[in-house]
């Protein structure tokens, strides 16, 4: 691949400028890519974002502690629950509220189901970028089952808005844990189907191995986290290193990229790491469901007054795209004076031009899909 790129780079052609976006099927969200092309080889990439800026962090300053919580759902709509989890954990720390164990377990189950759902979406993006429509439909069929579970417990399929300061909005509905277990078993068998159809398909390997390689050095330079960093061999997982919710009491592994079919940190490694993370999430969900404790699901009732305190908190959770940080500051008022998120897609977007440079134009959608970017959390 490197030799091939060098050969292409020697082509003496006029440079072409092409702006893709802000809306284009090859892009993960509203953004503009300013490409300089040498033939079909990408010579330079400039990224322009901000098309879906909503002033989200400022909104939190205008809301009370409780009424700000639904907005945390919108940090990354594809994995909505993680914004709520990190905000709720920060708020609870500042306000001195503890969520009961059952609530923490429900939060953990929701997080892992959302992780699987988000990873499935990234598989769909990946398959779409490669024109593999059958795999798209297979994954979407299974993702529907996860959305059904969300609907069963929260009444919503996408923006769940289920967390509350001090716990969750409701207890799990009857039969929910059994259905979670059934879906987990089903998904485990589906993984083999995915592998047969896609993961080790020669055409898929041909498009992804050696494509968009993230080096260990790039991980450290840009501060990458999540599956993209783990695919490059950097085994950093907030759930393992700084356990929160119920992650300290469950047994799971952190998959890392091994370059089995190409190079460590290439697009195929990123796909495989996510696929293996789905299996780990299934294990976590099953363990938590089996050990679900009895007791209350909310420590502070909806009508109880929370006495605000002054202070600040910064916490991180492991979202499907990496470490999602949240900083919350309080001066003892009815709401926070500052809320700031540190989403993982920001460093991922920063590394993207480096990965695309020297590659072929046709690989750009594959690189973008393999990075699993969320432009919503970049723009906020």
């Amino acid at each position: 691949m490197i030799v091939e790129r060098e050969r292409f780079e020697r082509l003496a052609t006029d440079l072409t400028l092409w702006e893709i976006g802000p809306f284009h099927p090859a892009l993960p969200g509203p953004m503009k890519l300013k490409l300089t092309l040498d033939g079909e080889v990408i010579a330079q990439v400039e990224v322009e974002t901000g098309y879906s800026h909503r002033g989200l962090e400022k909104l939190f300053e205008l809301k009370s502690w409780r009424s700000g919580l639904p907005y945390a759902d919108r940090v990354d709509p594809e994995a909505a629950v993680f914004g709520q989890v990190v905000y709720a954990l920060c708020a609870e720390k500042v306000l001195g509220v503890d969520a009961p164990k059952r609530a923490q377990q429900v939060r953990t189950v929701l997080c892992e189901l959302a992780r699987i759902s988000s990873h499935f979406r990234s598989f769909v993006q990946m398959a779409r970028s490669l024109g593999a429509e059958t795999f798209v439909h297979y994954v979407l069929r299974d993702r529907e089952k996860l959305l059904d579970l969300f609907e069963l417990i929260t009444g919503a399929r996408f923006s769940l808005n289920f967390l509350r300061i001090g716990g969750v909005a409701q207890d799990v509905t009857e039969g929910f844990l059994e259905r979670v277990s059934d879906v987990a078993d089903l998904l485990r068998t589906r993984m083999k189907e995915y592998n047969d159809l896609f993961s080790f398909n020669d055409a898929f390997l041909g498009r992804t191995r050696g494509t968009g390689v993230i080096t260990h050095d790039a991980v450290l330079r840009h501060g990458l986290t999540g599956p993209n960093a783990r695919a490059a061999g950097h085994a950093f997982d907030v759930r393992k290193l700084h356990p929160y919710l119920e992650y300290g009491s469950v047994d799971f592994e952190t998959p890392i990229g091994r370059g089995e079919f190409g190079q460590v940190g290439d697009a195929h490694d990123r796909f495989l790491v996510r696929l293996r993370e789905v299996l780990q999430s299934i294990e976590i969900v099953k363990q938590v469901c089996e050990s679900m404790s009895d007791g209350p699901f909310l420590s502070v009732g909806p009508n109880e007054v929370i006495r605000p305190r002054s202070g600040e908190a910064f916490l991180r959770v492991e979202s499907p795209r990496g470490a999602l940080g949240c900083y919350v500051a309080s001066e003892g008022g009815a709401g926070p004076v500052r809320v700031q998120f540190a989403p993982p897609s920001v460093p991922t977007l920063a590394v993207m031009p480096e990965l695309a440079r020297g590659g072929r134009l046709e690989d750009l959608p594959v690189i973008l899909a393999s990075l699993d970017l969320s432009i919503a959390e970049v723009d906020r």
Binding site: E40, E133, R141, N201, A203, G206, P365
Partner: protein, 355 residues
């Protein structure tokens, strides 16, 4: 009986009717009664089978089981008015493309009564048409004056060039085996039963058949070798400038290209329009019996072609799309050597294997 006598008998024309009139009527009938309904049927089958394969419902609204969906699509697309006037360059290249593509109907090997022109280069005419279509598509892409248009046009031309060479060699294998390139000679060199098909009687012709089908996918940019059209960086490519009525004709043209390729493959390697013996026995040897047999031949040939088309299309639904440089590499580095092996092997087989 010649095709002219058959059609004069079928249409009830005067025996002195001029040949150009009969040929024109036959071509109109081929399109109206064979190609257009077949396109609708294949479109429906493609969508239904793809839906089954992909665990979804598929078309089920227009008519019972969605059988009227192709008609509904056509009516919808034809009703759409163009948003901008067609430029003269686009009109010119579209015109040339249409003429080149559909003129092949005169040599389309659907049956002995439908091959209007059967020369000693009939099997090669298809390559002329495909080459013209590729050039037209390239200029249509350039004419869009957009980056997706340029890249798509260039990719399509490069793919057509790379796929044409192995495909041509594959057809030469069939011609070598048959002793000529007339359709009638190629068909007569084979039998009706699968055991008597060229690709079964000679393993190198089986290889040539595989090369021909692979080459066709490259030339016509059919998924998974369809990066000229369908890859997401240039989403739509040349076709991205087409809307409404133009997209209806564009899809018909894409269908016709694949149909042409599959009917040629059927004729060269899969027994063509040869009818099984029991069918011949069903009809008498009189004029009506012969005419009836001649009219069944296209049904058989098109059935075989439809199987090839469905397999090709479904294969494309499953596999990820290759990059255009991978497609051309595949054609030059894999298909071309295999085609050469098939050609040399066929020649040696013919010399060395008796009968």
């Amino acid at each position: 009986m010649s095709w002219r006598e058959i059609w004069i008998h079928v249409l009830g024309l005067s025996p002195s009717a001029p040949e150009w009139l009969v040929a024109a009527l036959v071509l109109v009938m081929v399109f109206v009664f064979a190609i257009f309904p077949f396109a609708a049927l294949m479109s429906l089958l493609d969508r239904k089978l793809s839906a089954d394969l992909q665990a979804r419902v598929g078309p089920n609204r227009a008519g019972r089981w969605g059988v009227l969906q192709p008609l509904a699509d056509l009516i919808k697309l034809l009703q759409k008015e163009p948003t901008e006037a067609m430029g003269w360059r686009e009109g010119f290249w579209l015109g040339v493309l249409t003429l080149a593509l559909y003129s092949t109907a005169a040599v389309l090997p659907l049956g002995s009564a439908l091959v209007l022109v059967d020369t000693d280069s009939s099997a090669l005419v298809v390559f002329w048409a495909v080459a013209v279509v590729a050039v037209c598509l390239m200029f249509l892409g350039y004419n869009q004056d957009t980056v997706p248009g340029w890249f798509s046009g260039t990719r399509l031309a490069a793919q057509a060039l790379s796929g044409a060479f192995p495909s041509l060699l594959a057809v030469v294998c069939a011609g070598l085996w048959a002793g000529g390139f007339e359709w009638s000679r190629i068909v007569q060199s084979q039998g009706a039963s699968p055991g008597a098909w060229a690709m079964v009687r000679n393993p190198f012709l089986l290889l040539a058949f595989a090369v021909f089908m692979g080459g066709g996918q490259v030339i016509l940019s059919v998924p998974p070798l369809g990066s000229g059209y369908s890859i997401s960086d240039i989403k739509g490519g040349v076709a991205s400038g087409f809307h409404g009525r133009k997209i209806a004709f564009f899809r018909l043209g894409r269908f016709y290209g694949l149909f042409l390729w599959c009917i040629v493959a059927t004729t060269c390697f899969c027994g063509g329009w040869n009818l099984p013996g029991f069918v011949e026995g069903l009809y008498g040897a009189d004029k009506d019996g012969v005419v009836a047999q001649k009219l069944i031949e296209p049904v058989l040939a098109m059935s075989k072609a439809s199987v090839l088309m469905i397999c090709t299309t479904l294969f494309g639904k499953i596999m990820p799309t290759l990059r255009s440089d991978q497609v051309t590499d595949f054609a030059w580095r894999v298909l071309s050597p295999l085609a050469l092996i098939a050609l040399i092997g066929t020649a040696i087989w013919m010399l060395g294997v008796p009968g």
